[in-house]
């Protein structure tokens, strides 16, 4: 079977379809570690962590912030289902920074009614958005 030459990448959130493009390479923030996908990849099903999705077409790289999703990889197709996905270009850095500060403050205050899990998730989300919007990859998860 000849290998396919490109991948059809789809990024879907419950609120919209963010990406539907033909690309050459995809790098996914898998929950077990980052993984690169080229055309002809073996079928794979994986959960995704919070992180950065990179896809490349020719020399053109695009970045998308992704949180809590999973991906289905087929030889000529990658479908990503994420609860949150946002293009780097679309990220409002000021808002992301504000969200980060808010989450930090909530975590620091330790008020009785603070929902820690939620605040932490918000913090992580804000940080990843900031990183993605800067075009640098996320730091290695500790």
């Amino acid at each position: 079977m000849p290998l396919p030459e490109s991948i059809h990448l789809e990024v879907v959130t419950p609120e919209r379809r963010l990406v539907s493009e033909v690309v050459d390479e995809v790098i996914l923030p898998g929950s077990e570690g980052s993984l690169g996908v080229l055309p002809g990849h073996t079928p794979l099903l994986t959960t995704l962590g919070i992180g950065e999705l990179v896809y490349r077409r020719g020399g053109d790289r695009r970045y998308v912030a992704i949180a809590w999703g999973f991906a289905e990889v087929l030889p000529e197709r990658v479908s990503i289902l994420a609860e949150i996905a946002e293009r780097a270009e679309g990220i409002d850095r000021e808002r992301a920074a504000a969200a980060r500060d808010r989450a930090l403050r909530r975590l620091r205050e330790r008020a009785a009614e603070t929902d820690f899990v939620r605040a932490q998730a918000a913090l992580q989300k804000a940080i990843i958005r900031l990183q993605v919007s800067q075009g640098i990859g996320p730091s290695e998860p500790s």
């Binding site: 879907v12 419950p14 609120e15 379809r17 099903l45 999973f70 289905e72 087929l74």
Partner: protein
Amino acid sequence: MANVRDYRTRIRSVKSTQQITRAMKLVSASKLRRAQDLILAARPYARKMLEVLSSLAARAHPDRHPLLQRRPEEKVLVVVVTADKGLCGSFNTNIVNGARAFLDELLGRSGSTAGPRPTHQVQVDIVGRKARDWFRRRDYPVRRVLVDLFRDVTLEDARDIASNLIEGFSGGEFDGVHLVYNEFKSVMQQRVVRETLLPIPRATFGPGAFTASAGAQPEDYIYEPDQEALFAALLPKHVMIQVHRVLLESAAAEYGARMTAMENATRNAGEMIDSLTLQMNKIRQASITKEILEVVSGAEALK
């Protein structure tokens, strides 16, 4: 007898009511369009999710997963979804009636002949101000109340509700979760539906998904992490998506119902204005005729 001026005031007031109902209709129409778009936008995700879950269910020993486990339903949670606002025809009444019938059935209160035999332990979760107001005055055990969700249905809300329900279900607080909500059938039609959310009904994953070897599987995946873990990670998401869908449907149905109701109201106001105008003209004519008669008979008398 009412005079012309009284009629004029009436007509003016009906007219301004009509303006309001017309505006509300237009607003509902545009909100409905947005709500419909949201429903459509949510579909690809839900479809893909189901596909993947079905293929996983065929291999991942789904019986073991707690969210799929069916136990005898003794403690039941009913989630009632209404609108926050009124003025949408029988939208809220239908839901409340449907919910009450369901609850009474569970509680063994229905039917005048049977004595009280509490067959189930029931709790109620409420979404929407209208349901809250109704249940506040009645004797049902309300567990959780959520209002003000529908101005902007977000995934966060859905996640919050879903995780709360999952927690209660796996913690043994209840053995089953049922939703009562308005399904968006078409702009003119809403239907009250009763749906089981937890345990996740097996039919969800399509026929054959639970038979030991579901025939030839089209895709043989590498799983990362393994199938069980993946399955376990996806099921709660599935629940969340279901909740999200229900909220979106209910929102769309509400706008549809309001639009129809307001259209009827606008038409009724128009009819009322017509009949009031007719009566007013009759009276005006009658009084003119009377005046002419008086003038003429007065002139006659002077001759």
